[in-house]
Symmetry: C2
């Protein structure tokens, strides 16, 4: 029976309305606008694949029709600061299903008035009194928080990740295709800021700039709050104010001299807000998910900061609406999560963060079985691959699989060993493999082509395992079918 | 009196025709097509500046009207493999003048049949018999060539540079603006290849890939010859064939086991041509000048390979038609030269070269006097800055001024010390300075903006002094005038 999720049902519009009526007002609003934006449900369901028809046929779409799911972000549905193959799935979906997932920024407490107040989901996640936390563990560190005394999980990993989603039929060795159907900002729930969404940019101690500051006081951490138009009318963000981080005492009494633990509430009585910064500067928005990926198999709890073969915190701003990601599946069900949503970011994410801004995405998840990959663009894929309408984007890291390569202390030592040079080498190797394996080129052909037609860029230099991406235009191969 | 170079002259068309008739057939063809492409001389003369009207007014256009000049590439007008403040100018121009300059690729002898034969300019430059060379010195090394025995100049620097052009009024501390009005491929002069132009890509020992090869024989150098449509009808290149470098004996009897000296003629009897490589792959062309810049002041003879504050071998494919470059002037007259012309290149120039292809460019050269720079986008500029219609592009290098920073052995040690990480740091510092100086931002504003709206990419990792560029969109500041 159609539950408002089968566009071929003659009663679809009615059933759809019933489904929408069952949701709360905010989510209802989102769903309506999302369906308008994608040209209605039928268009969304029938959206053409970015990959070739032959490749689409290799997808394990399962016996039934796609189903639609919704996963809100609440204290119960998020894991904060880590990936884990041990996590209980929040949702189980079939290959080909659609799912809307809410992502909350882990920087919302930089300005709780604008980014948390009045928002039940955000309030449940960020709840923190002297007696309790909505989400206690934040990071892959010890739960007792006695190692560095920062708090449970020690902030070894910072991102609020919604999920995981278990995809039926996904097994190690398969590939999960994630089509990003829609991305929307999460409007401020504070009536004083109706129609607006907000994000925070932290120029923090882990930024590339931190030891290079030229003006006093040195060093310093600076938070800049940005405003985004939640109605979608304007495609640019603008700064509202900034402030320098001062020691903040969390509700458990721990003093955070620097930004060393996620979700610490900033007491705005203790900071100096400078309004009018970046006056009249308009930042083009590039809404995307900094974190998107699957559970790694190498460890039970994995810091959410360094990206790897499983995706994770890749921080490539191209992973937005209309893009498709492909991830190697390491554990049964894949265990897909998203987080670290960004309104905009530049290649390098230089100062440590983007415009960190809660977003809601709609995705289609498709399993490609291992045995069907030969001869497709996914053959031998062992890293996260991005496809847009015009490009293939290969992702290199300082260490392709740091969890394996750096041994038992990988999650500590990765922060000491990264370089852009290493990431470039990895991106080169992966692009060569892509061209030789999926385009049938010789090594000599692939290397020449990389020098004359592939662009290498700096994805990020702030996530432990640094990233370089390599972009090749699809139209290079357009003549091959002539 | 108008010599065919003053479009305001009532007899301009007639005088112009006389000028064209005086030139040989090939150059005549080029000039005609260039003038058609730019919408006629008047349009070229009246082309609007990419910089603001206020900035244009700071230009020292001099007392007279702009004049048009033509500088062909011949054995007399090129310097091969080095920059030198001691070089006699080949041309003296006024600020605001237009000049068409021919650039010859230093890889033409990889396939002399296609890239040299029948072309008087190229033949004069490449002349090399057992008794003489058209251009003896190739590189900044010793003229006697006894250091490594490779040949005069030792190949410490490889690019055929046409020039220098002395710009009247240009003094140290001023800025030279170079507007790229037009860029054309140089057609093959061999009747067997009419209507086509050709380029060579060398995957060479200095490439990023060289020690990373996975197929045998290892190591190896590979030349791929590409064909470009010289008529401008097609915007893509395609491979013709490739071959592996074999030891080549030059006319003086020196054996070159690797590509260690520029312009060594390849004896095609000694190599195996593989036709049909990269079949049906179409490489979008991005015609540009890998080398463009001024004479540095720090040394008398400077290797043409490592780029620096003076520009030189920057290898940024964005330096093509419609772009404008700004260079700090280090010596009187600036001494502008071009070379290393490319039909296409990707960010990183991974294997060591681009599609090395002779091109002819038309430029307008404008001097901006030091005392007029305050308050403009050129204030305190001490590195090569690129402007396109939509973007400012800042160029970082592993060493901003390696000639000064690395001391007396700079020209050797630069090849041992570069990294992408260092180049990224330099690009960050320069973009910060650009935003603080020319946009009036605080350091905190600049750093936040760099993280959310500036894209850092890998320019090249094969030129000794590696490069990272930083791109910022102009429209960020469009609101500032509202």
């Amino acid at each position: 029976m159609c539950a408002g999720d089968d566009p071929t049902c003659p009663q679809f519009e009615l059933h759809r309305q019933n489904l929408l009526d069952d949701l709360d007002a905010e989510r209802r609003g989102f769903l309506k606008s999302a369906f308008v934006a994608t040209g209605g449900a039928a268009a969304a369901w029938g959206s053409s694949s970015l990959i070739s028809p032959a490749e689409a046929q290799t997808a394990a779409l399962g016996p039934g029709k796609p189903t639609y799911h919704y996963l809100p972000a609440t204290a119960e549905t998020v894991h904060w600061g880590y990936f884990s193959k041990l996590l209980k799935p929040q949702l189980e979906v079939g290959s080909g299903d659609y799912v809307t997932i809410e992502a909350l920024t882990h920087h919302a407490n930089d300005d709780a008035e604008r980014m948390i107040k009045g928002d039940p989901g955000a309030e449940s996640v960020y709840l923190w009194t002297k007696d309790q936390k909505g989400v206690n563990r934040r990071g892959a560190g010890p739960v007792d928080g006695k190692l560095l005394g920062r708090g449970s999980g020690e902030g070894f990993g910072v991102h609020i990740c919604t999920g995981p989603v278990y995809v039926r039929g996904a097994e190690p060795g398969d590939i999960l295709e994630v089509r990003i159907i829609d991305v929307k900002p999460r409007p401020s729930a504070n009536p004083a800021h109706a129609g607006k969404a907000f994000g925070s940019n932290a120029a923090a101690w882990w930024g590339f700039h931190y030891k290079e500051l030229i003006t006093e006081p040195k060093p310093r951490e600076v938070i800049t709050i940005y405003e985004i138009d939640a109605t979608g009318q304007r495609n640019w963000a603008q700064a509202v104010y900034n402030f320098r981080w001062t020691p903040q005492t969390d509700p458990f009494g721990v003093v955070h001299k620097t930004i060393d633990y996620p979700g610490v509430p900033v007491d705005h009585q203790t900071v100096q807000e400078n309004h009018g910064v970046l006056k009249n500067v308009r930042i083009p928005i590039r809404p995307h998910f900094g974190v998107m990926g699957l559970a790694p198999k190498e460890a039970d709890y994995v810091d959410s900061i360094p990206p790897g073969y499983f995706g994770g915190n890749m921080d490539n701003w191209r992973i937005g609406k209309g893009a498709t990601m492909y991830y190697p599946i390491a554990v049964a069900g894949g265990l897909f999560s998203i987080g670290d949503s960004h309104a905009s970011q530049g290649d390098s994410e230089l100062c440590g963060t983007a415009i960190e801004c809660s977003l809601t995405g709609t995705f289609q998840l498709i399993v490609h079985k291992k045995e069907t990959l030969g001869g497709t663009s996914l053959a031998e894929l062992n890293y996260p691959l991005l496809e847009t309408q015009d490009e293939w984007v290969v992702h290199g890291f300082s260490f392709a699989n740091y969890l394996q390569e750096l041994g038992p202390t990988a999650q500590q030592t990765i922060y000491e060993k990264s370089s852009v040079d290493l990431a470039l080498k990895d991106a080169f190797r992966k692009m060569r493999a892509f061209l030789m394996t999926t385009k049938g080129l010789t090594e000599d052909e692939a290397i020449s082509l990389m020098s004359i037609a592939v662009d290498f860029g700096v994805t990020q230099v702030v996530d432990g395992n640094w990233g370089v991406h390599a972009i090749i235009k699809k139209n290079l191969f357009a003549g091959a079918s002539v």
